[in-house]
C-alpha cells in the first residue's frame, strides 16, 4: 500500500503540494457509510413510532388486538425468528473471520431462510386482515368508525349489490338451460345461488327494519341499540384476553365469507393506517436485507468478506431492533 501511495504521490508531484488525506474516523468507508445511514434510519423510525404513539393515545378509541384480527402469539413468534436471524448473521461473521467459508455460507443461508419465514408470517398476517375487509384505505376498506345510519345504509347498499349480482348469475344459468328444464333443476350452482338470494333478502329486510327503527326512534338510546345490534350481528367485537366467554369471531361475515358486509371497528381506520405503515416500512427493510443476502449467496465468505458481512450485519441488527419496539407497541399495547 505504501508503494502504491508513493506512485500516486509521484503522479501529482508536478508543482502541487502533496496533500495527505486520512479518514476522520478509524473505520472503513463502508462501515462509516452504514453507520451514517443507520443514524438517519434511527430518526426515520423514531419519527414514525413517535407519530404512532401520538395518534394512538390521542384517538378517542383504539381497537383491541382481537377486533382487528391481530394474534399476539404470531407476533411473538416473528420476534423470535428475527432474533434468531440476528444471531445467525453474527455467527456468519465469526465463521468468515476464521476463514471457515462453508460454515459462513451455512449461517448466511440460515439468515436468508429466517428472513423469508418472517416475511411469510407477515404475509399470512396481512392476509388475515385483508380477508376481513381491514385495509388502510378505500376502496377495499370496509371499516366504519361507528354504527350510525350512514353505516346501516352502507350495509343495505352492499346487500342490494349482492342481490343484483346473484340475480344476474341466476339469469345466466337459466338461459343456459333454457331447453333443458330437468338439467336446470339439478344444477347445484343455481341451488346455491337461490340459497344465497334467500339469505340476502332476509338480511335486507333486517337491515331496513334497523334503519327504520334507528331513524324513527324517539330516543337516541333505542336508535343506537338497533344500529349496534346490526353491527354486532355482522361482526361482533372482540373480548379481553382473560375473558373466555363467547366466540369473538362468529358474525355473519365469518359464517358467509361471500357477504363481505361493512363492519364497525371503532378506531379501526386509524389503526389500519398506522399498522400497515409501520409494519410495511419494516417489511421493506427486511426485503432489502434479503436482496443483499441473496446477492451474497454466490460469494466466497472468507476473511476478505468480513467487512462486508459486518456491514450488512449492522443493517440487519437494526431491522431486528426496530421490530423489538414494534412488537410490543403494535401487538401488546
Amino acid at each position: 500500500m505504501a508503494t502504491a501511495h508513493a506512485t500516486a504521490h509521484d503522479d501529482h508531484a508536478h508543482g502541487h503540494v502533496g496533500l495527505e488525506y486520512h479518514p476522520g474516523l478509524p473505520i472503513s468507508n463502508g462501515k462509516l457509510i452504514v453507520w451514517l445511514f443507520l443514524s438517519t434510519e434511527i430518526m426515520f423510525f423514531a419519527g414514525l413510532i413517535g407519530t404512532y404513539i401520538v395518534l394512538r393515545f390521542g384517538a378517542p378509541t383504539w381497537p383491541l388486538p382481537h377486533e382487528v384480527h391481530l394474534s399476539e402469539p404470531i407476533g411473538a413468534f416473528n420476534t423470535f425468528v428475527l432474533i434468531c436471524s440476528s444471531v445467525s448473521v453474527v455467527l456468519c461473521m465469526e465463521s468468515a473471520k476464521k476463514n471457515n467459508t462453508s460454515a459462513a455460507k451455512g449461517w448466511l443461508l440460515t439468515t436468508f431462510v429466517l428472513g423469508c419465514v418472517f416475511l411469510g408470517v407477515k404475509m399470512y398476517e396481512y392476509n388475515a386482515k385483508f380477508s376481513h375487509g381491514i385495509y388502510p384505505a378505500l376502496p377495499h376498506s370496509r371499516i366504519y368508525e361507528k354504527a350510525d345510519l350512514n353505516y346501516a345504509s352502507a350495509v343495505r347498499l352492499r346487500l342490494e349489490a349482492l342481490r343484483s349480482g346473484l340475480d344476474a348469475e341466476s339469469a345466466a344459468i337459466k338461459e343456459r338451460y333454457a331447453e333443458d328444464p330437468a338439467g336446470l333443476e339439478q344444477n347445484a350452482d343455481l341451488a346455491e345461488i337461490n340459497e344465497r338470494l334467500a339469505l340476502v333478502s332476509k338480511l335486507t329486510a333486517d337491515a331496513q327494519a334497523v334503519e327504520t327503527t334507528a331513524a324513527t326512534a324517539n330516543n337516541v338510546t333505542a336508535s343506537r341499540a338497533a344500529l349496534n345490534g346490526l353491527a354486532n350481528k355482522i361482526m361482533p367485537l372482540g373480548h379481553h384476553p382473560g375473558d373466555e366467554s363467547g366466540d369473538a369471531h362468529h358474525g355473519l361475515n365469518d359464517e358467509h365469507h361471500w357477504l363481505k358486509l361493512p363492519i364497525v371497528i371503532p378506531g379501526g381506520n386509524m389503526w389500519a393506517s398506522t399498522y400497515f405503515l409501520l409494519t410495511g416500512f419494516h417489511a421493506i427493510h427486511v426485503i432489502v436485507g434479503l436482496i443483499v443476502f441473496a446477492m451474497m449467496i454466490p460469494m466466497t465468505l472468507g476473511v476478505m468478506a468480513t467487512g462486508f458481512i459486518e456491514n450488512i450485519g449492522l443493517y440487519w441488527h437494526f431491522v431486528d431492533l426496530v421490530w423489538i419496539f414494534l412488537f410490543p407497541l403494535l401487538y401488546l399495547f
Binding site: M1, E20, L91, D206, N232, H240, P266, G313, F318
Partner: protein, 152 residues
C-alpha cells in the same frame, strides 16, 4: 511523518475490517448468552398478554414494563450484536448526534400531545369513532337485546 500517519490510519482501518474489535475476542458463547437473554425478555413482554399478568386493569404498568424490556433488548443487540461495546471512541461521534436528533424529533411531537383537547368540531364528531362505554362490549350486548325485536 505524513506517511507514517497514513499508514497508521490505514492499519487500524485494516484491523477494524478484518480482525475487528481491537483485540477483544467476542466468543460464540457470549452470543449464545445474549440470544438466551433476548428470548427470555421476549417471553417477559409476551407475559403481559397472558391471563397470569396481574395488572390488566392498569395498562400503564404493562406499557412501562414492556418499554423497559424493549430498551433492554435494544441495548443488548446494539452492544453485543452490533459490537458497539467493543468499538473505539468513534462510536460516540455517530451515535450521540443521531440520538439527540431523534430526541428532538420526539420533542417536536410533544405539542401534538400537549395541545390536544377534548373539544371536537361538530362535523368531525359526526364521523368520529365512538369510544366503548366502561365495561367492554357493554353497548353491543345492550344493543343486541333491543335490536332483536326491531329486526323481526
Amino acid at each position: 511523518m505524513t506517511h507514517h500517519g497514513h499508514q497508521h490510519a490505514h492499519g487500524s482501518m485494516h484491523d477494524d475490517a478484518h480482525a475487528g474489535d481491537h483485540g477483544h475476542d467476542v466468543g460464540i458463547s457470549k452470543y449464545i448468552y445474549v440470544f438466551l437473554a433476548l428470548c427470555v425478555l421476549t417471553g417477559a413482554s409476551f407475559f403481559t398478554y397472558s391471563s397470569l399478568w396481574p395488572f390488566h386493569s392498569q395498562p400503564a404498568i404493562g406499557w412501562t414494563f414492556m418499554m423497559a424490556v424493549s430498551c433492554t433488548k435494544a441495548m443488548l443487540v446494539i452492544l453485543f450484536f452490533m459490537h458497539v461495546k467493543y468499538e473505539a471512541n468513534w462510536k460516540y461521534v455517530l451515535t450521540i448526534p443521531a440520538a439527540f436528533m431523534s430526541l428532538f424529533l420526539l420533542l417536536a411531537l410533544v405539542p401534538d400531545i400537549g395541545m390536544r383537547s377534548r373539544w371536537t368540531a361538530e362535523e368531525r364528531q359526526q364521523f368520529m369513532a365512538e369510544p366503548r362505554d366502561a365495561g367492554h362490549g357493554e353497548i353491543v350486548k345492550h344493543g343486541e337485546e333491543h335490536a332483536e325485536p326491531a329486526a323481526h
